[in-house]
């Protein structure tokens, strides 16, 4: 379990995060939502050990994250960045292989890479150059790399975690669903998943728990049905919408139908 208590992060004199407390339970998909600049990515950076908090504690499975050496953290959790460019012409295979453990044999690593590429619907892309792919394809390559890093959601009874920073940002609808299906499957198998999402419909559809961040604080925390309310939408996102209602006569697409089928 990931436990964050009274986390405060400062940039200069301003508190970007102000006494944030939250819990991420393995076996669940936790979505973090909120307006731009609310502090979602800062929470992500703090819990993955990239930022040093000014106050508060962040514990992963009972131990302070700062106390884990980098290699041990890497064995317990993988982080999908928002976007990342490459300076040199790596092939897709080579990028994904960076996520596999050096302890595996060369053949096992290659097999793991191939399996991960199939999972992100990039079968046969191994020989392509990463830099020549589209933004959405690049993001899926990184997802495959991250999946390789924590291939088994639970190892020796210890859960592993996936941190996904806007994993669906540049994906088409099919691959948005596919990516979140993969994340759900990881959680269903006992792993923990934290995903920053902008699409509240997708968050409602896939998350077991939604954490709403607003101006550096937690505005709401709970199951989608309790969190996504007209009142919250107005206060946090500043929009007057009716949650759960169908719009007037404009056509709309309901991603929910994909899972209902």
């Amino acid at each position: 379990m990931l436990e964050v208590e009274n986390l405060t992060v400062r940039a200069g004199k301003r508190d970007i995060l102000d006494r944030v407390s939250l819990k991420v339970v393995p076996g669940q998909l936790t979505a973090v939502v909120g307006p731009n600049g609310a502090g979602k990515s800062t929470i992500m950076k703090a819990v993955t050990g990239e930022l040093r908090p000014a106050h508060g504690s962040i514990k992963l499975d009972g131990k302070n994250v700062a106390a884990y050496p980098a290699y041990e953290m890497a064995a317990r959790r993988a982080v999908l960045p928002q976007a990342s460019s490459l300076a040199f012409p790596f092939t897709v295979h080579e990028v994904v292989r960076l996520g596999t453990s050096g302890a595996l044999s060369a053949a096992d690593r290659a097999a793991r890479v191939a399996a991960a590429l199939i999972r992100v619907d990039l079968n046969g892309f191994g020989g392509r150059f990463f830099q020549e792919l589209s933004g959405g394809e690049q993001q899926r390559v990184h997802l495959a790399r991250v999946l390789c890093q924590v291939w088994e959601p639970v190892v020796d009874g210890v859960p592993r975690y996936l941190f996904l920073d806007e994993p669906t940002a540049s994906l088409d609808l099919r691959h948005q669903l596919l990516t979140l299906d993969t994340a759900r499957a990881f959680a269903a198998a006992g792993g923990g998943v934290v995903a920053i999402l902008h699409d509240l419909n997708l968050a409602a559809l896939y998350a077991d728990k939604i954490i709403v961040v607003s101006a550096g604080r937690i505005a709401a925390d709970g199951p989608p049905r309790e969190v996504l309310t007209d009142e919250m939408m107005r206060q946090v996102f500043g929009v007057s919408v009716h949650v759960g209602g169908v719009p007037t006569d404009a056509p709309f697409i309901l991603p929910h139908s994909a899972r209902a089928a």
Binding site: E50, M73, A74, V79, S84, L86, P89, F90, E94, L98
Partner: protein, 359 residues
């Protein structure tokens, strides 16, 4: 390696890299042997072969002949120094490019070599004055050590100027490199201006660079530096690959990036320091060699670094052969040859990657 040949996996270039590395080993041996046979003294290939086989068989009875001296005290040390310096410069280039995540980073271009040169000049000019006790203690070894610290200081400064929160700005790096190089150059010029006749002669001799001054003693001094550089290769290769994704990504993949960056900077300074101390400033080897190899075997450092060392050694040996034959019996400074090959190369990378510079 298994004996069963399996079909290559798409995107996996390690098999090809192994073949290329084997080819580069052969190429280096051929270049080194050619370098032993070529020179203004007219020593024939057959005579060289005879001397070598005698030595290998342990027959050293004709130790005083002129031919023996030419081969064993001039050509062999010179070839070995060329191989060491070439490998070191090429590796320093590859590692710096990985650290800065940019194919244009080269110790010669971004002021690291100038910093190392400043260290060396300091020793030459002030070695007789208030640095005298240090000089007495270190002897000729003071030169590479001072060059190492000069290179280390410049690299550290450059990295701290050009990198903010794990992101290196290419424009800042190149411009800061120019500024640091200019500062080091100005101090060097001032020291030269202040030096006496004897020091001036020594400085002139040193600053011409090249491999002409190779001796067994210098080789012995260079060896620990080079060994340090080579030992670092396996410890940095995987980390350099991860750094290509970005610094935080490398940390997420389990690398201690702080330690990794320090090690890379240290190794670059070692390589540049020893090269500058014993061969002067030789540019472009660090840019051309890794770039060509990335096109052929890909940018994975586990195979790129050894291939870079091999091709760097070969390139410098060949460049040195050109230097001492093209205007024989005089010698061309080796920097002319490497710049003639390297500068157009650098421009061609620049033209194709103009977007990367984003000042």
């Amino acid at each position: 390696m298994s004996l069963v040949m399996t079909a290559p996996i798409a995107g996996d270039r390690r098999g090809r890299a192994r073949v290329v590395i084997a080819g580069l080993v052969v190429l280096l041996i051929v270049a080194a042997l050619a370098s032993l046979c070529i020179g203004p003294s007219g020593l024939s290939t057959a005579e060289v072969a005879g001397l070598l086989s005698d030595a290998l068989a342990g027959r050293f009875d004709e130790i005083s002949t002129v031919n023996h001296v030419i081969l064993f005290d001039i050509r062999i040390p010179r070839t070995l120094l060329g191989a060491m310096v070439g490998a070191a410069l090429a590796l320093a280039g590859a590692m710096m490019q990985g650290l800065f995540r940019n194919p244009l980073a080269d110790p010669g271009l971004v002021g690291v070599s100038s910093g190392a040169a400043l260290g060396a000049v300091l020793v030459i000019v002030l070695g007789g004055a208030f640095l005298a006790p240090v000089m007495d203690f270190l002897g000729i070894g003071a030169l590479p050590i001072a060059a190492f610290f000069g290179g280390l200081g410049t690299t550290l400064l450059l990295y701290s100027i050009a990198t903010r929160q794990g992101r290196t700005s290419v424009g800042t790096m190149l411009l800061a490199g120019i500024a640091l190089g200019a500062i080091a150059g100005a101090i060097t010029a001032y020291l030269v201006f202040r030096s006496n006749d004897f020091q001036l002669r020594e400085l002139t001799f040193w600053s011409m660079g090249g491999l002409g001054g190779a001796t067994w003693k210098k080789l012995g001094l260079a060896l620990p530096f080079i060994i340090g550089v080579f030992l670092a290769m396996p410890f940095t290769a995987r980390g350099l690959d991860a750094l290509v994704l970005g610094e935080s990504e490398a940390r997420h993949l389990g690398f201690n990036t702080q330690w990794l960056k320090s090690l890379i900077i240290f190794v670059v300074a070692l390589a540049v320091g020893v090269s500058v101390a014993f061969a002067g400033i030789i540019g472009f080897v660090g840019i051309v060699v890794p770039h060509v190899l990335r096109l052929v075997i890909g940018p994975e450092h586990r195979t790129l670094l050894p291939a870079t060392a091999l091709l760097g050694a070969t390139l410098l040996i060949v460049a040195d052969m050109i230097c001492r034959t093209i205007v024989a019996p005089a010698e061309l400074p080796i920097g002319i040859v490497t710049a003639t090959i390297g500068a157009p190369f650098f421009l061609s990378i620049l033209l194709r990657k103009r977007g990367v510079i984003d000042l």
